[in-house]
Amino acid sequence: MKKPALIKTAPPHLKSGKKIPTAMRDVFIALLPVTIVAIYFFGQNALVNIVAALVAAAVAEIVFRKLLSKPVTLHDFSALLTGLLVALVFPPTTAWWTVSIATILGVGLVKELMGGLGWNRFNPALGGYIIIFFIAQWLPFLNQAQLIPVEGVTQATPLAMLNHGGMEMPALSEVIVGIPVGNVAGAMAEVSPLAVLVGAAYLLIRKHIDWHIPVAIIATVFVLTLIAGENPLYHIFTGGIMLGAFFMATDWVTSPITPKGKLIFGVAIGVLIVLFRLLLPPTEGVAFSILIMNAFVPYIEKATRRPSFSDPLPESSAQRAAAKS
């Protein structure tokens, strides 16, 4: 009898089938609605920036992984995802080279040089974005507008209007469904909170994210702005809150792992966002808040660590009674 070539590997012998590329593809799919709306409203500008960011992400991934002599993991989609997110957080008027440089910084510096996917402490897309925010003061070419003029109405974003006060706000329904923001610091993804929410629903259904972080952020912003006497609905639907809450703060690598930790993380981000909005110049509040809390994730993990099943807490009298009955 010929001996069959049997496979012998350690248990478990079954796998759930869910893998990193499938998960990242899910996020891509979830970003499609807002990407399509952005391209619809901003046309060529949006398209050029998105393509530039994707190409930059792929190049950065290949170059940095080769330099670090690690296998190139383009197939896991994580670098491309960073690229798309970077494109979406910049205003559509941003020059394509600025978006590309932000992507390279995000993928190369914030992710790969920090140890690669899994080890980076900060959200790569937001990291790249914020580095541009800081260095653009000395590198004016980063602030140059896209060569092609923006189509559509040029006007302040609803968030800017909220903060300046005295302006006539567009109807809430318009804000939610989508209005083309002008060339004042509005991100492409701010164009339609509804489109972001459609994608978020997909992520929740696919169980890529849980509700804890986004709900904690949004509820905190809602309650605090209500207490501060502002219109909470305008606050939660303007600026980068929806994209930040559902797509940035929920990044696996840079957020806490347990439900308790997620809630603390979300509430803290919400508090920071409101502080930024009410007390400081109203730009980049969401990005800063998330990045600041990214830094605290290891401490949140430590503080919320649950005891092992084998380390049971002393039984309460109620439990003892239940055990006896």
Binding site: M1, K8, L14, K15, A23, W119, W252, S308, S310, P312
Partner: protein, 441 residues
């Protein structure tokens, strides 16, 4: 119907439909059986026979003087062909008695018909010890040692959860051998002095729940507890927690918690041992897999080579290239590369997994902290942290994150999106930790 469970764990695909409605059938005895001298946790037996000896069905062929051990018996009558090391399902070789089967002498004929009610506790224990009973759910701890407790035990838990995918041998035994199960439970209750017995059964076996309930009738000392269908519901610690609500602290033996857990097969074997004086020489094994043409629950002689058992179920051994043959369940069972390995007392299943069910990619990534393992770990550990430390052999850190509490149920590795072999990494680190501790001692 109140369904009980524990916190953590997860629902995983069952694959039980291949065999869950297949009645137990007797598999023909092979022409040669291999009886390993170790089929239990504890000291190995010394062979009592030598090459050329004639043996009867049920004759004791191996025994140990040690307390923690269990004797082994000939599962068929015939001639001892050899006493030599033979391949064992864990990959090692174990001293074994090889018997050439006399096909006219394979049936165990009970010499006695005892009424357990008329036997005293010592007689019951002796019968269980002599029969070589061990935990038949996989742990294989000698049953006599388990029930011979000096401290008072109030509760017997009969484990009918059968939470591993594919396996249905306990299910069928509960449905078909209900009377033996309930009588067996009463026997074990007497040996440990328990006043209460809970039979925990996952609710995906409604026929078993019904049958057992009916047989218990209005005996209030025995109760069926429906359990949620969730892996790893059938692990001892989690069965205790789910049914009694008692915590299972690190290092505590179940007897210290006032309960003893016995598997369905073991409980029925206790009945056979006490009533018929029958040693543990055959057991019900689920032979299954998507491409096994005659999957089923077979009563198989201990010592039957797995290749023979597979052939009897219609598996063409020449077409097993790139397949996996697993002894036990798919979550914790062991893959085999030698089909001469014999089935032993604790083997619940024999599975053939076709290439499309097998993970081909051996490369894995760093943890991306998706949280699947943390939300599913039944011990509430952080397999993400532990496996990362284990991989780097940072043993102090791994210990600090309670690596030693891990029960290796496999649900973390099953769920890992980064394809990390979490259980393997943990096992390797645990071995190193034990080595270090021995050095210190």
């Amino acid at each position: 119907m109140e369904v009980r469970t524990f916190e953590g764990g997860a629902h995983i695909p069952h694959y039980k439909s291949y065999t869950e409605s297949k009645a137990i059938t007797v598999m023909e005895a092979p022409d040669e059986v291999i009886i390993p001298m170790v089929q239990h946790g504890g000291a190995p037996c010394a062979p009592l026979v030598k090459s050329g000896d004639k043996v009867e069905v049920g004759q004791k062929v191996g025994e140990s003087e040690e307390y923690v051990s269990a004797p082994v018996h000939a599962s068929v009558g015939g001639i001892v062909k050899a006493v030599e090391p033979r391949p064992y399902y864990d990959g090692s070789e174990v001293e074994s008695v090889v018997i050439e089967t006399d096909q006219n002498n394979i049936e165990f004929k009970p010499q006695v018909e005892r009424n357990p009610e008329e036997m005293d506790v010592e007689e019951l224990k002796e019968a269980i010890k002599e029969a070589g009973l061990v935990g038949m759910g996989g742990a294989a701890f000698p049953t006599f040692v388990n029930i011979n407790q000096s401290q008072p035990i109030d509760t017997l838990l009969v484990n009918g959860a059968e939470c591993e995918p594919f396996l249905t041998c306990d299910h069928r035994q509960m449905a078909e051998q209900t009377q033996q199960l309930v009588t067996g439970a009463r026997i074990i209750m007497r040996t440990i002095g328990a006043s209460k017995c809970y039979i925990g059964i996952e609710v995906n076996k409604p026929d078993a729940i019904e049958a057992v309930k009916k047989t218990i009738g209005n005996d209030n000392s025995i109760e069926v507890v429906p359990l949620a269908v969730k892996y790893p519901q059938g692990f001892k610690s989690h069965l205790i927690k789910a049914i009694t609500g008692r915590n299972v602290p690190r290092g505590a033996r179940s007897a210290e918690l006032g309960c003893i857990v016995r598997n369905v097969g073991t409980t029925i074997a206790a009945y056979e041992a006490v009533v018929h004086g029958k040693p543990l020489i055959e057991r019900v094994v689920t032979v299954s897999g998507p491409k096994v043409s005659e999957p089923g629950n077979y009563l198989i002689k201990i010592g039957t080579p797995i290749g023979y058992a597979l052939q009897k179920c219609g598996v063409n051994l020449d077409q097993l290239d790139n397949h996996k043959v697993v002894v036990g369940g798919p979550m914790t069972g062991l893959a085999q590369d030698n089909l001469e390995v014999p089935l032993i007392k604790s083997n619940t299943g024999l599975l053939v997994l076709p290439p499309e069910m097998i993970e081909k990619e051996s490369r894995y990534e760093d943890c991306v902290r998706c949280g699947e393992c943390v939300s599913k770990c039944p011990i509430w550990l952080y397999p993400n942290m532990i496996s990362t430390y284990a991989e780097a052999m940072m043993l102090e850190e791994a210990k600090e994150w309670n690596i030693e509490d891990c029960i290796e149920c496999g649900i973390c590795a099953f769920s890992c999106v980064a394809n990390r072999p979490i259980v393997e990494l943990i096992q390797r680190a645990k071995i190193e930790i034990k080595k270090l501790e021995r050095k210190k001692a």
